[in-house]
């Protein structure tokens, strides 16, 4: 079988340059990725099929510090798309008023998945901050408190009842 050992080295190929380097590249790619993605430590480096390459670089872009290379200012300030809110008429609109504001606003509750999102949106809309929620003490850290009027006509603190 010895004569087959060196055949590959002497083989003339008409493939595009670099196609045979896939195996080595995969291993080196793993080395680089090891640093960037600590979760890859347990992956098997001995695999050399080209399929592994796509598996080695999972779409975990959010976990690499500083990647993609977008300025942190931009990352912090881009408004996330509120696709759900594009369809008017399907939403649950409620009136929101703030003490001292000249007019009321309306928001669509179905756009939000939880209290923190709702409160964040209210903070942006009315330019205030709501403080931190404590079960025992309500909201601390701000002079504004989010409340709602329930069907009995009572003023209730937002956040006590489960979101659903």
């Amino acid at each position: 079988m010895d004569e087959f050992v060196n055949l590959k080295a002497t083989e003339l190929r008409l493939g595009l340059p670099g196609t045979d380097n896939v195996c080595e590249e995969t291993e080196r790619v793993s080395c680089c990725n090891k640093r960037a993605l600590p979760d890859c430590d347990t992956e098997n480096e001995n695999e050399s099929s080209s399929k592994k390459k796509t598996e080695t670089s999972p779409p975990r872009k959010a976990q690499i510090v500083g990647w993609p290379p977008v300025r942190s200012y931009r990352k912090n300030n881009i408004q996330t798309k509120k696709n759900e809110c594009d369809h008017e008429g399907q939403g649950i609109y409620v009136k929101v008023s703030m003490d001292g504001a000249p007019y009321l606003r309306k928001i669509d509750l179905s756009c939000y998945k939880g209290y923190s999102e709702l409160l964040k949106a209210l903070e942006v809309m009315f330019k205030f901050s709501v403080g931190e929620y404590f079960e025992s003490e309500g909201y601390k850290g701000s002079e504004f408190v989010p409340t709602y009027e329930d069907k009995d006509g009572d003023w209730m603190l937002i956040g006590d009842v489960p979101w659903e």
Binding site: T19, N33, R35, K53, P69, V70, R74, I78
Partner: protein, 574 residues
């Protein structure tokens, strides 16, 4: 040597603005050095730690305008810890004590405090222009000092800074006598704005050409502002959350129509897309459009707007425009020189249909012959596309391509992107700045070394195979000034082969590479004119002496003033 009196030579030098030319002039002879230095008005310092304020003032006592840059570029991506450095205070302090007649200060990536701003505002009677880009450390209180004390203020330009907004009345601090404003940009402020104070300020600033508002300025206020400033050339719209009622919309449109000088539009920080048509009448005049923060505008609305912007030279947009949208840009914007396409989905792994691909890039390159600068975030790329782009656009000066997934190969052939990027470098003989991504081997670096004759700034991430890669660049790129590398397998051999090279460069950044503590120490020993900084946030290992230990972050730069004294504990300067 001089056949003319000094005043004549000085007069000749007055017409030379470029600081590089000025630097060359000052090397000719002692006499020219002296005349040049005493007449120099504008100084640019690309690395605030390369020199110190005392020496600056000693050499250029008649300085009027100073530009300073602090943190390394990768600080933009959270790779440099807070408190690393770049404090402006010592500079302002020294300039104040020396009674330099400072009129303009431009800072980038520096730490600015309210105290510094207060000192600045009180120390320079003729201070006219403050430009802060990507700075942090100050609040609106500092802005209040500037507003209150700088009697001849013309420009206050705050670009993408992290400012603590105390929601105070800083706009009110501009005295009634302040009528000289030509530029006011506070788009990055997050809090409420005193609209009445703003309107009064704009109304008494007849020379105001550029106004960029923050989120808190709603539609009806915008209408009033534009009505009292129809001379505006550059407008940054704040927010227009809800859809306006028809009457407000008509008023806005009327106000916009009167702004016949408007050439540049930006902002749209919170937008209901149905407000965009109010701007249609002036689109034909626009040369610059920045919609890169307008995440809520869908591709089709963007396209409708852009179709009217036939004179556009600069476009910053989100990838929600899609390849189809870029095709529209390519057919409409024949004057386009600079394009930036930013990613709109930064957090999730959502199905990314709206993203742009190589198709959009090729379309732009084919349709826009004047394009020379591009920043393009995309999810995939091919060698064939890059080769086509290189053929269509050999005039690139800045080419930055960020494929979102690291190490991603050509998505059609699964090969590396060496040939594609190589084609760009080879065709674009004037290329000065390059950022690359995707799967790249040492061969790509060989191309850079061979063809990157004018290359001054190179950003590398997750690329290369061996030290040879980095060596090709260091040996081949004679004009290299800033090299920044992350997560690439380059080590001590590459770092140490040509120490003298770093004399010709401003700085080198290497993070998550293979350089060791020992290598860095040897470098520092052989190059006393370099500051070799090791940034190590891991508290446990800070003073370890294991020379084989890999260095997490290395930042080195040439300097004439030795080790800096303001480094935090996690920075070790060898």
């Amino acid at each position: 040597m001089n056949y003319f009196p000094d005043e004549v030579i000085e007069h000749v030098f007055d017409s030379i603005d470029s600081h590089r030319d000025r630097n060359s002039i000052s090397l000719v002879c002692k006499s020219w050095h002296k005349i040049e230095r005493c007449s120099r008005r504008t100084v640019f310092i690309g690395n605030c730690y390369a020199i110190n304020p005392e020496r600056l003032i000693g050499r250029f006592p008649c300085l009027r305008s100073l530009t300073l840059k602090g943190k390394p570029h990768f600080a933009d991506f959270n790779l440099v810890p807070h408190e690393w450095g770049g404090f402006v205070h010592p500079w302002i302090d020294a300039l104040a004590r020396a009674r330099v007649g400072l009129e303009e200060l431009r800072l980038k990536r520096m730490v600015v405090s309210d105290e510094s701003l207060e000192l600045l505002s009180r120390s320079f009677v003729n201070f006219k222009s403050l430009v802060l880009v990507s700075c942090d450390g100050f609040t609106t209180d500092g802005l209040a000092s500037i507003a209150a004390n700088c009697r001849h203020l013309r420009e206050l330009d705050l670009q993408e800074n992290e400012i603590d907004d105390h929601r105070g009345q800083w706009l009110n601090c501009f005295p009634d006598t302040c009528t000289t404003l030509t530029l006011l940009n506070f788009a990055c402020l997050k809090g409420e704005t005193n609209l009445a104070a703003l309107e009064r300020l704009v109304a008494r600033s007849p020379n105001l050409k550029s106004l960029k508002l923050n989120r808190a300025v709603p539609l009806d206020a915008l209408t009033r502002l534009m009505s009292c400033a129809p001379q505006l050339v550059d407008l940054g719209v704040g927010s227009y959350e809800n859809e306006p009622d028809p009457e407000s919309f008509v008023k806005l449109m009327a106000a916009i129509k009167k702004c016949t000088s408007l050439r540049s539009l930006s902002g749209f920080l919170e937008v209901a897309p149905r407000c965009l048509p109010a701007f249609y009448p002036i689109c034909q005049n626009l040369i610059s459009l920045n919609l890169s923060y307008a995440a809520e505008i869908q591709g089709n609305h963007l396209i409708k707007l852009i179709q009217l912007c036939k004179r556009l030279q600069r476009l910053w947009i989100l990838d929600s425009i899609g390849d189809k949208g870029l095709e529209v840009v390519a057919t409409t914007c024949k004057e386009l020189q600079e394009l930036r396409v930013f990613p709109s989905d930064l957090h999730g792994e959502e199905d990314y249909n709206a993203a742009v691909t190589e198709v959009g890039l090729v379309a732009i390159s084919a349709g826009c012959p004047k394009l020379h600068s591009i920043l393009y975030f995309c999810k995939q790329m091919t060698n064939a596309a890059l080769i086509t782009v290189a053929q269509n656009c050999p005039n690139f000066i800045r080419f930055r391509l960020a494929i979102l997934e690291p190490n991603k190969p050509d998505h059609l052939t699964s090969q590396s992107l060496d040939e594609g990027f190589g084609a760009i470098v080879q065709a674009c003989k004037g290329l000065k700045r390059l950022s690359v991504s995707g799967l790249l081997t040492d061969k790509f670096f060989l191309y850079i070394g061979m063809y990157g004759e004018k290359l001054e700034m190179l950003s590398i991430a997750f690329a290369g195979d061996t030290d040879k890669g980095m060596l090709y660049v260091l040996n081949g790129c004679k004009k290299m000034r800033k090299l920044e590398i992350r997560d690439s397998p380059f080590g001590d051999a590459a770092l140490l082969t040509d120490v003298g090279k770093y004399k010709t460069m401003r700085s080198l950044w290497m993070s998550s590479c293979e350089v060791t503590l020992g290598g860095c120490k040897r470098l520092a020993q052989n190059a006393p004119w370099l500051n070799v900084e090791i940034i190590n946030e891991n508290e446990n290992n800070r003073n370890g002496e294991d020379e084989r230990e890999k260095v997490d972050k290395l930042y080195l730069y040439r300097t004439v003033v030795g080790t800096r004294k303001d480094a935090p504990p996690y920075v070790r300067i060898l």
